[in-house]
Amino acid sequence: MRRYLAGRLLQALGVVVFVTTLTFVLIHLAPGDPIGQALQGPNVTEAVRNEWRAAYGLDRPLPEQYLRWVASAARGQFGYSFSQHRPVRDVLAESLPRTLLLSSIAILFSFGLGIGVGLLQAERPRGARDRWLGRVLLLLYSVPDFWLALMVLILFAYRLPLFPAGGLHDSVTYAYMSPTGQLLDRIKHLVLPVLTLTMLSTASIARYQRSALVAVLRTDWMRTALAKGLSWRQAVRQHAFRNALLPTITLFSLTVPTFAAGAIFVEMVFSWPGMGFNTVHAIAARDYPLVTSGVLVSSVIVVITALLADIAVAAADPRVRLS
């Protein structure tokens, strides 16, 4: 077990190094640079820009810049954000919790809902309930994420103005609210982005859970469970469910990265200033330190969840645990 874990950790480290290196190279290869973006005025001469480039070390060869970045990142120094005019560390410390809040609520809801819906469907495969839920899920599954986010925005913020269109909280009145009022305001702002993310990922989770369960229902030990005197529902919920949950744990680790990507659209549409929102703006501004550090943090999170999921599967499945 210890050797297995050490191997997995090494593998995880490799993934993080690969992803951040790739990001570093790609963003530097993109046309333009942070100085060009920041000092765009016609009165600034190219000589002045070059002076600034030299001051930030942007004139050095790419491998040198890369090694310098690695060395400082390893010491926890993420550099200074060109576009936000403050340390990258501050930017991340502010936006990471926002993204974690949004996606953890959405993940909680979508797994709860997805597993539940899959179970309801699998209890009577091909029954009326299974077929109707299946149609709704297929629709949600096929819809593009940005389109769904926009539709939700139009429907519930514009046509039926039940919820605010975006932001973390009300920009004007928030400071004057009571603590309860502030909490309610924050929750109100969370509703639409969470709803969108939940709808998007519930579909694939439920479809996955349903097929995992249906496959399990045909096994011999399900017949044994029934022959013992369990009702169909008990057999499904006690015997089949636990077995069908194993692939879903793996799905969880696969969902986290897609969440980070899917969250970019949702954060953009609902102006939620989290990691995705920040990264998009940082890329536009060629804010090298912010982009690379943002990717570094996200890839570490993804790799850690994958690792945790593997450990969870091993804990839940006795066959994996012992081999």
């Binding site: 011999d220 030990w221 022959a227 015997h239 636990r242």
Partner: protein, 343 residues
């Protein structure tokens, strides 16, 4: 005379498949008396397993037990019981042992939990009492170090051990009837004998009746008092074991006996029955064994044979019962005539 423990009356279990209605069990009647071991033999696809599953109503769609069938057990018709009441019978009064010990146990629960579950379903035992019961059952079926084994998972045990677990699970509630569906087919020969001995020993001590389904006449000879031979969804012969081995009547039974290796027999090739079982969606008219039979004549084509009484407790679904002189008329069966079936 005491009524039989189990009485199956005209059981018809049909499967409504895309390629037609498969009449897998087509009018089967049999009885199991208290304390006896009844053997049911036949080739794969003859309907013996479906009969077993029908008793506990474990037939799933597209299968259906047709109206007009009845399965009486301890004074009740199992087929008309409410869902909650049949569950009270399953695992409690009638238990099952399945063919594949490798797949009959849930891989993610310990064997102790799986045995204890039966007690938890049918009694109000606490978790702890049920766990103790599970250990006791493991000891009963001869598993060494039962306390430790109870905490192990199915994949940690050998096939023979798993089958002992399945038997332990079946006997928790001390059922009146044990249905064993090919309990030793998937096991090594030496383990087979052990498992059968264990079953015989336990059920004798507990007074359990057994419905033993098998395709192995050797197993029948050693374990059963009475035998039912099934073919193509029907009972074709029923007799006491000694009667059957000495005076088999139905040509199919004769074929099965001829296909059995014997110690001390001549070292000739084993006899085989030519052809295969017809498809259950399309049983032939007349006698269903006709095309594979060495004696078949016109009557077998025209008239579906009833179960004729041959002797006391001995019936056979063969027209030879009324035209015994035809037995002298052996010929090559249609199924064995080269090119005959091709047209």
């Amino acid at each position: 005379m005491t009524p039989p423990l189990l009485e199956i009356d005209n059981l018809r279990t049909w499967f409504y498949t895309d390629s037609g209605v498969a009449r897998s069990v087509d009018g089967v009647s049999m009885r199991v008396d208290a304390g006896e071991t009844l053997g049911v033999v036949g080739e794969s696809g003859c309907g013996k397993s479906v009969t077993a599953l029908s008793i506990l109503r474990l037939i799933r769609a597209p299968g259906r037990i047709e109206p007009g069938s009845a399965i009486r057990f301890e004074g009740k018709d199992l087929l008309t019981l409410a869902e909650a009441d049949i569950r009270h019978v399953r695992g409690n009064r009638i238990a099952m042992v399945f063919q594949e010990p490798m797949t009959a146990l849930n891989p993610v629960f310990t064997v102790g939990d799986q045995i204890a579950e039966v007690a938890r379903i049918h009694t109000d035992m606490s978790r702890k009492e049920a766990a103790a019961k599970a250990v006791e059952m493991l000891r009963l079926v001869g598993i060494p170090d039962p306390e430790r084994r109870a905490t192990e998972y199915p994949h940690q045990l050998s096939g023979g051990m798993r089958q002992r677990i399945v038997i332990a699970m079946a006997l928790v509630m001390n059922p009146a009837l044990l249905i064993a569906d090919e309990p030793t087919t998937a096991l090594d020969v030496t383990i087979q004998a052990q498992i059968l001995e264990l079953l015989a020993d336990l059920t004798r001590r507990l007074g359990t009746s057994i419905l033993l389904i098998t395709h192995d006449l050797g197993v029948v000879a050693e374990n059963c008092t009475r035998v039912i031979v099934m073919y193509a969804g029907e009972v074709v012969e029923e007799a006491t074991t000694s009667d059957l081995f000495r005076h088999a009547h139905h040509p199919y039974t004769e074929g099965l006996l001829g296909a059995m290796p014997r110690v001390g027999g001549h070292a000739e090739r084993l006899a085989t029955i030519p052809g295969t079982v017809p498809a259950p969606t399309n049983w032939p008219a007349g006698c269903r064994f006709r095309e594979r039979c060495e004696y078949a004549w016109e009557r077998c084509e025209q008239e579906h044979p009833p179960l004729y009484q041959i002797g006391e407790g001995h019936v056979s679904r063969c027209h030879l019962a009324v035209e015994p002189e035809r037995r002298a008329n052996r010929h090559v069966p249609i199924a064995a005539q080269v090119g005959a079936g091709a047209a």
